[in-house]
């Protein structure tokens, strides 16, 4: 009865356009009333959901990204990406994807990637003959690389929700899958560009320009290295790494490139808080939902359902992929991690799946949901930034999502791709 009330409230309010954080909160309120539990549980679990030092990393990583954006470091990155891949067929599409890879190192969030790169690259791609819907599709498809390559807010929240997994190892484990997604998207972009006869850059850049762009980009690209090596070597925790990254960004933009003024800082700090607060309210209310599902025996129900179907690890992983894709389609990323992360991580342990490998499969699967209707926030942000109709965007993004699905299957069945790098680096640098 409680679960039924919860599900109905959730679906009705979701369809009526209530903000998702409040949809979850209101559903929990209804469930608590129906089950006759005390309302003290609402603020109690909301508080537990956000009372964590690990979570301080989230606003700090967002701050580092905001400082780099306000300090106009994006243009150096897009120029650098253009130098590397712009001369292939579909050059600006490749540039967009490569820029997402570099940009991932400073924001760790898909929406920041779509907004910052999309506002620059979508008009440029349209000027060069790409359809606006296609340019937006490339932007939102490649934006999922942001939360896979370190620093990743998604991995921070996953590690906090599940516990017992090193954030540093998850960060490093995301590098190869992130690059694989980029490669897969570039292959699809090349194929479509050939079919539609999209452009490629014909002019050559001067060595002076290449040198200047490289110098400007390297300042930005050092940041993710600082984070990864700092955390893995045990010099600082993930949270401290995030604060160090934001201080580093501040020093670079204010003292080295001088593209950021002290007067810009209040705006940057406020914008950081607004972006982070959207995630935080989701985390707070999802924590209540997680408690209610646990008291209703949902984790045990899911575990026994898996056990009844298969005891084979590979079949389990396939089923898991399908279920996570479906969850990603109907639920926003962070609530999905908070609610289902602990449940599935425990089940996966029973099947002998490596925790770091599982963390990457779990998060990448859910990230695909960012670009699928009806809850795909990437689609909505993309449609707004690219000024295109949602239907057109959904049609254009489909082939890219298929390629990302292919990568998900590869990283699921080749654990070597995710586990080798963190293990080797940890062994090399010391314990995380």
């Amino acid at each position: 009865m409680t679960l039924l009330a919860l599900c109905i409230t959730f679906l009705v309010l979701l369809m009526l356009g209530m903000p998702i954080a409040f949809v979850i909160g209101m559903s929990c309120l209804v469930a608590l009333v129906v089950s006759g539990e005390s309302l003290i549980l609402l603020p109690h679990f909301m508080f537990i959901g956000i009372d964590s030092f690990v979570l301080v990393a989230v606003p700090m990583f967002v701050l580092a990204g905001e400082i780099m954006l306000k300090g106009k470091m994006t243009s150096a990155l897009t120029d650098f990406a253009d130098i590397l891949v712009g001369r292939f067929r579909g050059g600006m599409g490749h540039t967009n994807i490569a820029a997402s890879v570099f940009f991932a190192g400073i924001t760790g969030s898909a929406s920041a990637d779509t907004t910052a790169l999309g506002s620059v690259l979508i008009p440029t791609m349209a000027e060069r003959g790409y359809s606006r819907a296609y340019a937006t599709a490339v932007t939102i498809a490649s934006s999922v690389i942001g939360p896979i390559i370190p620093p990743s807010l998604t991995f921070v929240i996953y590690a906090m929700a599940v516990g017992g997994v090193s954030i540093g190892e998850l960060f490093v484990a995301g590098i190869i899958p992130g690059l694989l997604v980029a490669l897969a998207l570039m292959v699809m972009n090349y194929r479509i560009s050939l079919a539609r006869n999209y452009e490629k850059r014909t002019e050559r850049y001067s060595w002076r320009f290449i040198g200047a762009t490289f110098r400007a980009s390297i300042l930005v690209l050092v940041m993710p290295l600082l984070i990864v090596f700092g955390v893995l070597s045990g010099e600082f925790t993930a949270t401290e790494a995030a604060a160090v990254a934001s201080i580093y960004a501040l020093v670079i933009c204010m003292a080295v490139t001088r593209t950021l003024d002290v007067r810009d800082l209040p705006g940057v700090l406020f914008s950081t808080a607004k972006t982070s607060s959207i995630m935080f309210l989701l985390l707070a209310t999802s924590s209540v939902l997680s408690y209610i599902l646990a008291t209703q025996g949902v984790p045990q129900l899911i575990a026994s359902a898996f056990e009844a179907v298969t005891d084979n690890k590979y079949v389990f992983l396939l089923l898991l992929n399908i279920i996570l894709l479906l969850i990603g389609i109907v639920l926003d990323l962070f609530p999905a991690i908070i609610i289902f992360g602990p449940i599935f991580a425990t089940i996966a342990q029973g099947y002998g799946v490596d925790p770091v490998h599982f963390g990457v499969i779990f998060c990448v699967n859910l990230l695909l949901g960012l670009n699928t209707p009806p809850v795909g926030s990437g689609l909505f942000i993309g449609a707004a930034v690219g000024k295109v109709r949602l239907e057109e965007l959904i049609r254009e993004v489909r082939p890219f999502i298929l390629m990302e699905l292919l990568v998900v299957l590869i990283i699921t069945y080749v654990p070597f791709l995710t586990t080798t790098l963190p293990r080797s680096l940890t062994a090399l640098l010391g314990s995380p």
Partner: protein
């Protein structure tokens, strides 16, 4: 009403920005201190308290800008006027939710009032109060948004 929101807006901006700057300084100081004179015990606790307060207040600010993620696809199909009425109803439900949280928080805050945190030695009620405070702001903001939505609904009649 307009003047009150203006003052509230400026105060909120100041508090939220100060919280974010405070986190960066506290955690940055901890990194430096550990490498030089040894780690302090208080920056972790302070940064968590600042984060909870700063971000919960910012959540109210974002609600004021209708910035929280939601699915507006179906509502848009009903047309602007019906959409405004549905939005007003949703904000009324947000008020109900916020009242329930404030009610629960009264007991929660009372239960931790005399307890203190480990490093800073402040009452545990201080971080816990951030949630009901933001809920009070959610209510104020929702009343304002309902007002706007209903005015639009009436104007389009």
């Amino acid at each position: 009403m307009k003047h009150m929101f203006k003052i509230l807006d400026a105060t909120l901006r100041l508090c939220i920005g100060a919280c974010m700057a405070g986190i960066m300084l506290a955690v940055g100081l901890q990194v430096v201190a550990r490498a030089t004179i040894g780690a302090f015990s208080w920056p972790e606790e302070l940064s968590v308290i600042l984060m909870i307060w700063g971000l919960m207040l910012a959540a109210a600010y974002v609600l004021n800008e209708r910035g929280h993620v939601g699915i507006s696809l179906l509502v848009e199909r009903f047309g602007a006027r019906t959409g405004a009425a549905i939005n007003a109803l949703m904000h009324f439900l947000i008020i109900l939710f916020s009242l329930a949280v404030i009610y629960g928080a009264y007991f929660k805050v009372s239960s931790v009032w005399s307890l203190t945190t480990g490093a800073l030695g402040v009452s545990r009620a201080i971080p816990n109060l951030a949630i009901p405070t933001s809920c009070v702001l959610f209510i104020l903001v929702s009343i304002r948004l309902i007002w706007i939505d209903l005015a639009y609904w009436r104007a389009k009649r």
